[in-house]
Subunit: 208 residues, 2 copies
DNA sequence: CCATGCAGTAAACAACTGTTCTCCGTGGGG
DNA sequence: CCCCACGGAGAACAGTTGTTTACTGCATGG
């Protein structure tokens, strides 16, 4: 597995990753629509023109960031939904999983939450597509559970979307609370748990 | 009630409103953090320096926009929650109310949804504060209903927040669907109704 | 082993940005 | 009635922006 990538292509991908990382850092305190091409190249330590070797525009960079950020979000959602039955301790575990992920990749979820309704149409579309895919996967996972007997696929998709949206909102809430105030973080945790629990109760009593 | 405002102050507020309107228009396809001062003054048809007579910065303009946009959102939320008991036809009415409001003030809700997680800290804080206020009003309204017997204030606030967030997400969904495709809009309506209904079912079975 | 494709450089471009200073016209309080 | 406070205009400022053109060095495939 040594010659899997030439020295050349490896260096290119390395630079590309540097662009993504630098952009993600800069996007901590601004939105994509205000992110300048030169700003990014300056942060990477590279000439402005080098940018074009990797992306057409900052909007394109944004789309690439969506892939990366939601790729890292994928295991979290899978993990959350696989434990998404009714029992309280499993809900607690799911919320803890979200909190852990936020602390591991804060820039990723900040980017997604920010640009989901952001000013760049292509990025919004890319996020929406990925979120729809996630919702569909969650629906498939929910369908396996015995609690879903008698549910229509449409209703399951509705529930899955509600779960996914709730996860992202919870993650965003953890983000705002971050400034090492464990009290504040505990508050977010408690609210998130109860929201999840209420939704689960709604699920359990949906039929009939 | 004629001399309530001098000609001078009236003209000033008129110009100020022109700034707000122009900014709201420009923010249809970009985020606040990329909104330039000169861009706004150009849209208003006024000298760049005139901007400083009304706002310190574009971030200040954003805070002012929060007041205006959430001021217009207030009656919608009140109207929605006053009908937010369990019956299906009331839920339908609430969703219709949201749809109507989105069609009446699309720029307002687009701004709120976009900047709620946007790149300008002061604006995010202003929105969060107003949303918290809304949630608290909804909590007070819910507390009056007989379904809330036995509920703690904390749980009621949790439910209220869930409702408020759901309203904004529904409004945002209507916004994305807008391109005069009534089929798409109907789909959003149906999903929103069922989400609301599931939450209401969860509410009804929360205790015990 | 050499020719070439390609990542990255350097300089220049016109256009745009936020901010400051100076000025003007006039509505309104004394 | 008149003086002045104030909304707004205009010009100028140093920086920054995205994009183009021409260039360099080197890894790599034939």
């Amino acid at each position: 597995m040594s010659h899997s990538l030439g020295v050349r292509q490896a260096q290119k991908q390395k630079t590309r990753q540097a662009f993504l990382d630098a952009a993600l850092g800069l996007l901590a305190e601004q939105s994509l629509s205000s992110l300048g091409l030169r700003e990014v190249t300056r942060a990477v330590g590279v000439a402005p023109t080098a940018f074009y070797r990797h992306f057409h525009s900052t909007a394109d960079l944004g789309v690439a960031l969506v892939e990366e950020a939601l790729g890292s979000l994928h295991p979290m959602i899978s993990g959350t939904v696989s434990t998404a039955d009714d029992s309280d301790e499993r809900i607690d575990r799911a919320v803890a999983l979200i909190a852990r992920h936020v602390r591991a990749y804060p820039a990723h979820i900040r980017f997604i939450a920010r640009e989901r309704n952001g000013g760049v149409q292509k990025v919004r579309a890319a996020i929406a597509e990925q979120m729809d895919r996630f919702a569909d996967e969650v629906r498939a996972e929910l369908a396996k559970q015995p609690e879903s007997d008698g549910w229509s696929d449409d209703d399951l998709l509705m529930l899955a979307g509600l779960y996914v949206d709730q996860m992202l909102m919870t993650a965003s809430a953890f983000l705002e609370a971050d400034p090492d105030d464990p009290h504040e973080e505990e508050r977010v945790t408690r609210v998130a748990r109860r929201r999840m629990r209420l939704i689960s109760i709604g699920r359990r009593n949906w039929l009939g």
